[in-house]
């Protein structure tokens, strides 16, 4: 085993001396850095745009002038999804999700205005981000560096010479594996340091972000290890270097190109989503006759009003309640009714979307690319689960805002009724919108299946790599 070191040194020397491979490695690093620069610029722009838009929305809200609080609830406002700094590494599915939610009375709106709607139609051919370089190109680099590690020794006859000296096959394997790993590390460690610096500058120095990045780094190491192990095995098992190369490029194409598309296609057929119009029709129908279709809107709202008046202690006393209070309470009761309907349908929609996303991750057991891609987006906070986390917070905030306005109507309108107008002092009382990203544990929990798939792949590839040492034929 003490021979591992000289073997690794010799392999590393060979890899480094090969000009073609130096060139390929250089290209990958340059692309990664360009992607980082672009990602950082986009992230910075998105953060600024969100800040700017939020300020603007706040100004519009506070400067909307004098009006009835419920009219103000109709006027509404907008809230914007935050852009985590890790978006610079992996934008995940954020471009395909709405980034803003319109907040208004009576309606729970879907997030709207995704960036993808305005992009070129070939955007799906090649997105350009650090994660894509890591997910797609680095495995190819590993294949280019590693496909000849066993087979070239055999072809040049050096394997015979080596084994005749009595060196153990295992030592050869470890030497080769270490050399492959070091050559990739040599390229990526400096790049990773640069990534950390850039994220720090974008404001990602907090413990949670660092924890996410550490997990991300670990995940990618495992991912590269999987490709390294498979490549070593292919190099040993194939008849020639050429056959090993062709087989591994084929496997890469299957893992990274074919299976992801096929899996999402199957997932969207197995867990179909409704159209916006049919969702709207369903919601409208439920609003009239209830979710199960046997409740009249009027009666339901009436019952809610009774309940609420009872809560406030009006019903039994036979007290005379002023018109505005009734209006305010009625509005609030209506809002509760509508909220229950919207919540039901939106939960069903979100559940279906989550189910579709989950279904895709099943393909992680067939392709390490699919598993790592979803884990990467999860750890960067750019997957659907994080989006859902945000929209659920937003909905809670919407309810508290509308309640606050209806309460202001009920409490202050008095005899003026619908002619009552509130001013900025009420608008400024709007609850604060303080959305915080969930913890890294949240991401791991959501992507447990992908973690499991990667672990299985890692075991498989480790086993194959170990076998490769025995498998390789001498002549």
């Amino acid at each position: 085993m003490s021979l591992v070191r000289p073997i690794a040194t010799k392999e590393l020397q060979e890899i480094i001396r090969d000009g073609r491979l130096r060139l390929l490695g250089g290209i990958v690093v340059i692309l990664a850095l360009a992607a980082l620069a672009f990602g950082a610029q986009q992230t910075h722009r998105a953060q600024e745009a969100r800040e700017h838009a939020s300020e603007r929305a706040e100004k519009q809200w506070e400067g909307q002038g004098e009006k009835n609080p419920h009219v103000a609830a109709h006027y509404g406002t907008h809230v914007f999804a935050p852009t985590s700094v890790a978006t610079a590494i992996d934008p995940g599915v954020t471009a395909y999700l709405g980034r803003s939610v319109k907040i208004e009375a009576h309606k729970r709106n879907l997030a709207a205005h995704s960036a993808a709607e305005d992009s070129a139609s070939f955007q799906r051919m090649g997105s350009f981000s650090v994660s894509m370089v890591l997910l797609l190109l680095v495995p190819l680099l590993i294949i280019a560096l590693g496909h000849g590690l066993w087979s070239r020794e055999r072809e040049s006859g050096t394997l015979r010479q080596l084994l005749s000296t009595g060196v153990e096959r295992k030592s050869l394997l470890f030497g080769k594996a270490i050399a492959l790993f070091l050559s990739i590390a040599l390229l990526l460690v400096p790049a990773a340091v640069l990534v950390l610096g850039v994220l720090w500058a974008l404001g990602g120095g907090d413990a949670s972000t660092l924890m996410r990045l550490a997990l991300l780094g670990l995940g990618y190491c495992v991912y590269f290890g999987i490709f390294g192990g498979l490549t070593l095995y292919a190099s040993a098992a194939s008849g020639s270097s050429r056959a090993a190369l062709v087989a591994m490029i084929g496997a890469w194409g299957l893992f990274c190109l074919v299976l992801p598309r096929a899996a999402t296609e199957v997932a969207s057929a197995a867990r179909p989503l409704p159209s916006q119009a049919s969702l709207a029709r369903d919601v409208a129908k439920s609003l009239e006759v209830g979710i199960d279709g046997n409740l009249e809107r009027e009666a339901a709202v009436e019952a809610l009003v009774e309940d609420m008046l009872a809560e406030e202690g009006y019903s039994d006393t036979g007290m005379l309640v002023d018109a505005a209070t009734i209006s305010g309470v009625e509005l609030q009761a209506e809002a509760r009714w509508e909220d229950s309907i919207h919540d039901h349908h939106m939960r069903a929609l979100s559940d279906q979307m989550s189910a579709q996303e989950d279904f895709v991750t099943l393909a992680g057991f067939l392709s390490p690319f699919v598993a790592m891609r979803s884990l990467s987006a999860g750890l960067c906070g750019t997957d659907y689960a994080h989006h859902r986390h945000f929209t659920e917070y937003t909905e809670g905030w919407r309810k508290s805002l509308v309640t606050m306005l209806n309460k202001a109507f009920a409490d202050n309108a008095g005899d003026a009724g619908w002619d009552y107008k509130a001013g900025p002092e009420v608008w400024k009382n709007a609850p604060a919108f303080n959305y915080a990203e969930p913890s890294p544990t949240f991401a791991l929990q959501v992507h447990l299946r992908s973690v499991l798939a990667l672990a299985l792949w890692a075991f498989l590839s480790l086993g194959l790599a170990l076998r490769s040492a025995q498998r390789v034929r001498v002549t």
């Binding site: 986009q42 838009a53 009219v71 109709h74 070939f122 096929a262 296609e265 996303e357 619908w418």
Partner: protein
């Protein structure tokens, strides 16, 4: 010429006995059929959505006509949701659906159809943004990010790898097997040899591909008898053949440099990676950096601020539950305010359109940077899911929206009630297909560019092929 034919025939024979080549072709054919099925499924679900809305519209109009004819006789006062009330009719009752019908070969490429509405509900409301309810089924974010498993994906991304697998050892394989020296000791020039071999492989591949492409269309349920289908089919075949020619030319160039088969494979896969994956990504990045897409959020704010005072009035009316916004004077005032809203929002919309046009023109010129982009766009054009067709549809839908609103705002302002005749006269959306000349021009440009690129590669390869000695060793 006879040498060429001999080489061609022999190459055919070799191909027929080459199990790995047959396996590659077989796997690709299998994928192609699966992709055709997936594309057909998508195209059908889109078509079904459109059909559903249209039939919904037809039944709604029929019911309205019956109710109108009854109400016209009775002369009762207006009630809620009364078809005689032009305000309610314009906003809800007689809403029209403008749809972009799927083209005959729609299953080839989904394009941006999963992102853009294929049918929009047109009412007398003013839309500040493109936030419109559609019948297009929603798609999950990962599905959108990944893209569809449609024939266009297979052809743009995987097909070149198939060509590479069939051609990377065109000459280097003969050299490594030792047959190249035997061949070149015959009175055969290297160019004849390469051309014969490449042509045999090209024709085998094209034949198999076109066969399965057409088979795919059939299993996807495409209507090949529809008007324009035959032309589209010819263009489809033309684009695919040009795309194969381009990659064979690249393989000939790489082979003419005299490297080993393994090196040729690496170089060709590298070329593929650059042209098919990296350059399109960089073009996306370049366009996004130079001309960022107009921010819909900013647009929303601009429009909101430009119209704030008017909207205040509108909301002052719309949010009050004690007045019915659907009738009488309030309705007339809402109509007037809506007009004003549309007028004020107009400059913002125009600015956005100008921004989008600038992006589009930059994209139009950058697409020549990668033949893969050309092919993707050409296939989308053939499938009727291209950007140009959709933009035309959007423009037509906007014009129709204006006509629809004008029809109702005239009646609302005059306080006219709707009658059966008026219901008949509500504008109807008829999608006007682009003249085939423009489509032909776009696709021929793409095919011409591919051919020119292939010719350039071949010219370059000629220099290497002239130097015989280097290749035999």
């Amino acid at each position: 010429m006879s040498t060429f034919r001999t080489v061609l025939q022999l190459e055919w024979r070799i191909l027929k006995r080459d199990r790995s080549a047959l396996a590659v072709l077989g796997i690709f054919a299998l994928f192609l059929i699966l992709a055709a099925l997936a594309g057909g499924h998508q195209a059908n679900s889109l078509a079904n959505g459109i059909e559903r809305t249209q039939s919904e519209e037809a039944t709604r109009y029929a019911q309205l006509a019956i109710r109108l004819s009854e109400l016209e006789k009775s002369e009762t006062p207006l009630s809620a949701e009364d078809p005689r009330d032009s305000v309610w009719m314009g906003a809800v009752g007689s809403a029209r659906v403008a749809s972009l019908p799927p083209a005959p070969l729609a299953s080839i490429a989904i394009g941006q159809r999963d992102l853009h509405p294929q049918s929009v509900r047109v009412t007398s409301e003013v839309h500040l943004t493109r936030e419109r309810e559609t019948e297009t089924p929603m798609a999950g974010p990962t599905r959108l990010r990944t893209g569809a498993f449609d024939p266009a994906f297979l052809f743009v991304i995987l097909f070149p790898l198939v060509v590479i697998a069939l051609s990377y050892e065109l000459l280097s394989g003969e050299r490594e097997r030792g047959t190249l020296a035997m061949l070149l000791s015959q009175p055969v020039s290297q160019s004849e040899l390469v051309m014969g071999k490449a042509t045999a492989r090209l024709s085998a591949l094209s034949g198999a591909t076109l066969l399965f492409a057409v088979l795919g269309l059939v299993v996807a349920g495409a209507d090949l008898g529809a008007p324009g289908a035959l032309l589209a089919l010819c263009l489809y075949a033309g684009v695919l053949i040009m795309w194969a020619v381009f990659w064979f030319a690249a393989a000939i160039l790489v082979n003419s440099q005299g490297g080993t088969s393994a090196k040729n494979a690496l170089v060709l896969v590298g070329m593929w990676l650059i042209l098919v994956i990296i350059v399109p990504g960089l073009v996306n990045v370049g366009v996004d950096t130079l001309h960022p897409p107009p921010s819909s959020i900013d647009l929303l704010h601009e429009a909101r601020e430009a119209t704030q005072d008017v909207e205040k009035e509108l909301n002052g009316l719309a949010g009050r539950h004690d007045v019915d916004p659907g009738s009488g004077e309030t309705a007339q005032r809402i109509a007037v305010v809506q007009e004003e809203l549309a007028r004020r929002a107009e400059p913002v919309h125009q600015e956005v359109s100008a921004q989008i046009a600038k992006r589009q023109s930059l994209l139009d010129s950058l697409r020549f940077l990668s033949p893969a982009i050309l092919v993707q766009l050409a296939l989308e054009d053939v499938a009727g899911s291209g950007g140009a067709r959709h933009q035309r549809f959007e423009a037509q839908a906007d014009a129709f929206h204006d006509a629809y609103r004008a029809f109702f705002s005239e009646r609302i302002q005059k306080g006219v009630r709707m009658g059966t005749a008026d219901l008949q006269a509500v504008p109807r959306f008829i999608h006007e297909e682009e003249a085939s000349g423009a489509l032909l021009q776009r696709i021929f440009t793409a095919m011409g560019a591919l051919l020119a690129a292939a010719a350039g590669l071949m010219l370059w390869a000629r220099r290497g092929l002239g130097r015989i000695g280097r290749l035999t060793r």
